[in-house]
């Protein structure tokens, strides 16, 4: 069988202006000339699900911590018999991954370790998970306490008399190191339960596929998925606030949510407004530590720093309540449907098999919700605090003359920032008062800014090099939807492709038609109109509020358990995920037929429209 291949890394054209891009990332993140033979022999797929846009140098921290820590739990903690971690590189600004198999001869020896280790967790899940919450919240609370104060003009006299013997610069250095290491700590915790959640899910998944050959993946997901989840709490808080605003007759105060201070003042001054404001404030901790992005980028906006975002969502919910829509998720219906599905499958089995089915299902149903809920604690909350602290630091460094613009920091790697800090404390210590950075960095940063902008003009290749004939690695299949069929489809080897039809995963059932709205960035979300079909490279669960007004979702990347799939099932909307190219093939305004049961998207008619930000768009460049 002749297999088509994806391009080699060296085959991909470097966008004009991005020459020398390798220099902006650490050496260990880019393909090496010296390792070309080895690296070209491997299959790499692009994770544009988590990293849809080009990394600025400082932003590689999220990719590095996430994928490294994912790997360590396979390879070093849980000793997954047949899967090590996932190797990763940045190429032309995008992240590519390659799963590392376990040599055949080592598999057997890992089995007893694996079983002992998962037994430790699965035997006492609830208590272990409660301890996890404490650890993670403890980390966040420590991060919150970190301060990046300006260095003093002179050492305070009491430090002299108290014999401190230090100039205070060590606190700046320590706090920076602490910020990095606490973030690293929560990324390690992130995967302590995540891989286990997937293992329990895969175990039930494989059992289902055996007793019910070809059972739709969706049925399996539905049987273990939580209905009331922490990940949906932030959105639920907004709905509750919208309903309260209607109840208290405060609707008229939501006419200009782009000015949050005026909006909140006007509400506070209205009769009953104090009750609303109290609930609004109580919702902040922790639920407004929530981003409309995915936590991996410095430009991700968090609700607690951008109150216009939740206020705008609330105003939208209010409009829908007034239009007579039901804004609360149909949880009772979802629970009843889930119970029906579980019961009907169980009834198909004999008593003995049904008992095993239920044991495996209940383990998966216990462990799996973590896969969804952890996202709030790490990607939203931890990373929200992290980026806020980074902004505090870069503001202080800008004020100190190190940077011209607080954004400059993002064009340095995290270890380069460590050098800048020592540059600053040196100039402070020696009394020169001017860090070398002020002179040495502007040119470098401008060049890097140009490279990042140039890299952004090209989309990533879906994958690199020759794929294996079959994709067997369980996590790759499940997390990223990288299946043999998907890879073949990217290569254009589909057996049957109907014209104007995209194929993807049947991620959430239902059949609808409607106009497309292509959303490339979270900031364009406000252009989405009621009744449209959302088409995006990926979605984040934090896009929650728009799922109440769209008809269906289509994504380029993502499997049955991608965020888009999970949220759409929760909102009872059809979804087709992992189409590969929907966001580049479909134009806003095209009439689509989305079949979330079959996993197809048909472009019924191409409507040529002038695209551009809508009247309410908050779109801007980063």
């Amino acid at each position: 069988m002749t297999m088509k291949s994806f391009p080699k890394p060296s085959d991909l054209a470097v966008p004009a202006g991005a020459e020398g891009w390798e220099e902006i990332y650490p050496y260990y993140l880019v393909f090496q000339e010296e390792l070309k033979a080895e690296e070209d022999a491997k299959f790499w797929f692009c994770d544009s699900q988590h990293w849809p846009t080009v990394f600025k140098p400082f932003e590689t921290i999220g990719g590095e911590f996430a994928v490294k820590c994912l790997g360590q739990y396979n390879a070093r903690h849980l000793m997954i018999p047949n899967a090590n971690g996932i190797d990763f590189r940045i190429h032309l600004g995008y992240l590519y991954m390659s799963p590392i198999p376990v040599p055949e001869e080592q598999i057997a020896a890992r089995v007893p370790e694996f079983e002992a280790r998962i037994g430790h967790y699965f035997g006492d899940w609830e208590n272990k998970l409660a301890a996890w919450h404490e650890k993670v919240k403890g980390t966040i609370s420590e991060m919150e306490q970190l301060r990046f104060d300006p260095l003093p003009e002179i050492v305070p006299f009491e430090d002299i008399t108290n014999g401190v013997g230090k100039d205070g610069s060590e606190i700046l250095l320590e706090n920076y190191d602490r910020l990095i290491s606490l973030t690293y700590q929560n990324w390690q915790y992130h995967f302590e339960f995540l891989n286990l959640g997937y293992i329990a899910y895969l175990d039930f998944f494989n059992f289902c596929k055996e007793v019910f050959p070809n059972i739709p993946d969706l049925s399996i997901a539905t049987m273990v998925q939580g209905v009331d989840m922490e990940l949906f709490r932030p959105d639920d808080e907004l709905k509750s606030l919208a309903l309260l605003a209607v109840e208290l007759d405060l609707v008229s105060h939501f006419s200009n949510t782009d000015d949050p201070a005026a909006t909140l003042a006007s509400i506070a001054g209205a009769p009953g407004g104090d009750r609303w404001i109290k609930q609004w404030e109580e919702a902040h901790e922790p639920w407004f530590n929530f981003t409309i992005g995915n936590g991996f980028y410095a430009h991700d906006k968090y609700w607690n720093e951008h109150p216009e975002i939740p206020l705008d969502f609330i105003a939208d919910y209010i409009r829908r309540v007034q239009d007579g829509s039901q804004i609360l998720r149909p949880t009772e219906k979802l629970i009843a449907e889930k119970e029906r599905i579980v019961q009907e499958y169980t009834e198909l089995l004999d008593e003995e098999t049904a008992a095993i089915f239920e044991a495996k299902r209940s383990l998966a149903a216990t462990a799996y919700p973590y896969v969804e809920n952890h996202n709030f604690y790490i990607e939203h909350w931890t990373m929200g605090v992290f980026w806020r602290k980074v902004r505090e630091l870069s503001k202080m460094l800008t004020d100190a003359g190190v940077f011209q613009d607080p954004e400059d920091l993002l064009y340095l790697g995290r270890n380069e920032v460590r050098d800048v800090l020592f540059d600053l404390v040196t100039s402070f210590g020696v009394g020169s008062g001017t860090p070398i950075a002020a002179a040495a960095l502007p040119k470098k940063i401008a060049k890097r800014r140009g490279i990042v902008d140039a890299l952004k003009t090209a989309r990533p290749a879906p994958a690199l090099n020759t794929p294996p004939e079959v994709i067997t690695e369980p996590f790759t299949r499940m997390l990223w939807g990288i299946t043999t069929e998907q890879v073949q489809s990217w290569l254009g080897n589909d057996e049957e492709t109907e014209p104007n039809t995209l194929k993807g995963m049947a991620a959430s059932p239902g059949l609808v038609e409607g106009p497309a709205r292509v959303v490339m960035h979270a900031d364009d979300l406000s252009s989405v109109q009621a009744g449209e079909i959302l088409v995006a490279p990926i979605t984040a669960p934090s896009w929650g509020p728009i799922f109440g007004k769209i008809k269906a979702t289509v994504t380029d990347i993502g499997g049955m358990m991608s965020h888009a799939a999970i949220v759409c099932r929760e909102y009872d909307l059809p979804a087709v995920t992992g189409t590969g190219s929907a966001s580049t093939t479909i134009k806003t305004g095209d009439l689509l037929r989305v079949d979330g049961t079959k996993g197809t998207v048909k472009i019924l008619s191409n409507i040529e429209v002038v695209s551009g930000p809508g009247a309410h768009s908050h779109a801007h460049q980063h």
Binding site: P213, E344, L348
Partner: protein
């Protein structure tokens, strides 16, 4: 639809009683009530038969049968012919004729224009030879107009007195007193699309699937294998489509009103290469099969049709449901091969599960 002392509509909502409706009639009422819509119609019940026979016929028939020797075939044939002639020619009491005519009109009012009907006898089992249910096999198809229907109702009644039925009762000491017969009057199916549905995967016995074959026209060509139908497999629990193969469907059998029979014709190209069922119709077929399985408590092999004379949503008809026999005697689902059952509860089965390629 309106029931009365003599008539019971399939969808009339009354409890089906074998004594009153006979085996076939009771079954049609039961199926309709259980959400398995058979072609619409009504039963002329055993009380109607008695009202007819009671008006002096019983005595005359008893006279013909008195002292009859079951071994004397010629004598039996003669008595049988005389009795059947009597039943066919005797005027029906006015009260009975009126309600039958009204029921006929009532049934026809469901269609845009008059449709052909079928008339079938529906015996109460003990009166007839069990091997063949002789009386039940009297079926008259493609009847047009009330007069023809009325005539064939009486033909069904008369079938109680075939020579074979008379000999059977004499030999088995079954008295003629209390003998009865119900008659089913039912719409002829005018299948636009038809096929079969099995409540399992026939290739491996997996009971979490529903397998549907569907083709244009009457289902005979699907059953006999003379066309390649569309073949669709659905998940039984969620009704998600799992596989879908468009069959060639090169020909169809359709009713020919001129000859009151079925004619075969070629299917034009544009109907061949598309699925004949819409998503909604497919779902309705699957639900129908699912209900039949639930009702009969075993995997079913169901014949169904979409009737061209009935409106959308009411046009799916169940023609026959019979137990699936190949796989049903086996365990309901294949047993997992991973480890023993005991180990399946432990972490060992998680290990082996993880090592497999999930497909």
């Amino acid at each position: 639809m309106s029931n009365n002392d003599f008539i019971e509509f399939f969808d009339g909502g009354l409890a089906p009683t074998l004594d009153s409706l006979g085996g076939k009639g009771a079954s049609l009422v039961t199926m309709t009530a259980a959400g398995m819509p058979v072609p619409p119609g009504f039963v002329v019940n055993t009380a109607a038969f008695r009202a007819f026979m009671g008006a002096g016929l019983d005595e005359i028939i008893a006279g013909h049968l008195a002292g009859l020797d079951p071994e004397d075939i010629a004598a039996v044939d003669k008595a049988s012919a005389a009795i059947r002639e009597l039943i066919i020619s005797r005027p029906v009491p006015d009260s009975l004729r009126e309600v039958t005519r009204a029921a006929y009109a009532d049934l026809q009012s469901r269609f845009e224009s008059e449709v052909p009907l079928a008339v079938r006898s529906s015996a109460t089992a003990e009166d007839l030879p069990d091997a063949s249910f002789a009386g039940q096999q009297d079926t008259y198809l493609w009847l047009n107009g009330y007069a023809s229907v009325a005539e064939h109702i009486r033909a069904c009644w008369a079938s109680l007195y075939t020579s074979r039925a008379i000999i059977y009762r004499v030999k088995n000491n079954i008295p003629d007193e209390g003998l009865c017969m119900a008659v089913v009057v039912q719409k002829m199916v005018n299948a636009r699309i038809a096929g079969v549905a099995m409540t399992l995967d026939p290739t491996n016995g997996d009971r979490s699937k529903i397998t549907v074959d569907a083709s244009w026209g009457v289902g005979e060509m699907v059953v006999s294998g003379t066309v390649t139908p569309d073949n669709i497999q659905l998940d039984k629990v969620t009704l998600a489509v799992i596989t879908e193969h468009i069959g060639d469907k090169h020909a169809e059998l359709i009713p020919d009103p001129a000859t009151n029979s079925l004619v075969e014709r070629e299917v034009e190209a544009e109907r061949r290469n598309v699925l004949c069922l819409t998503t909604a119709e497919l779902e309705a077929v699957a639900l129908l099969a699912k209900r039949a399985e639930k009702h009969y408590k075993s995997p079913q092999d169901v014949e169904w049709a979409l009737d061209a004379d009935l409106p959308d949503g009411e046009n799916l008809l169940l023609l026959q449901a019979r137990p699936e026999t190949v796989h049903s005697s086996k365990a309901p689902a294949p047993k997992p091969s991973t480890g023993g059952y005991a180990s399946s509860m432990g972490f060992g089965s998680i290990t082996s599960s993880l090592m497999k390629i999930a497909n």
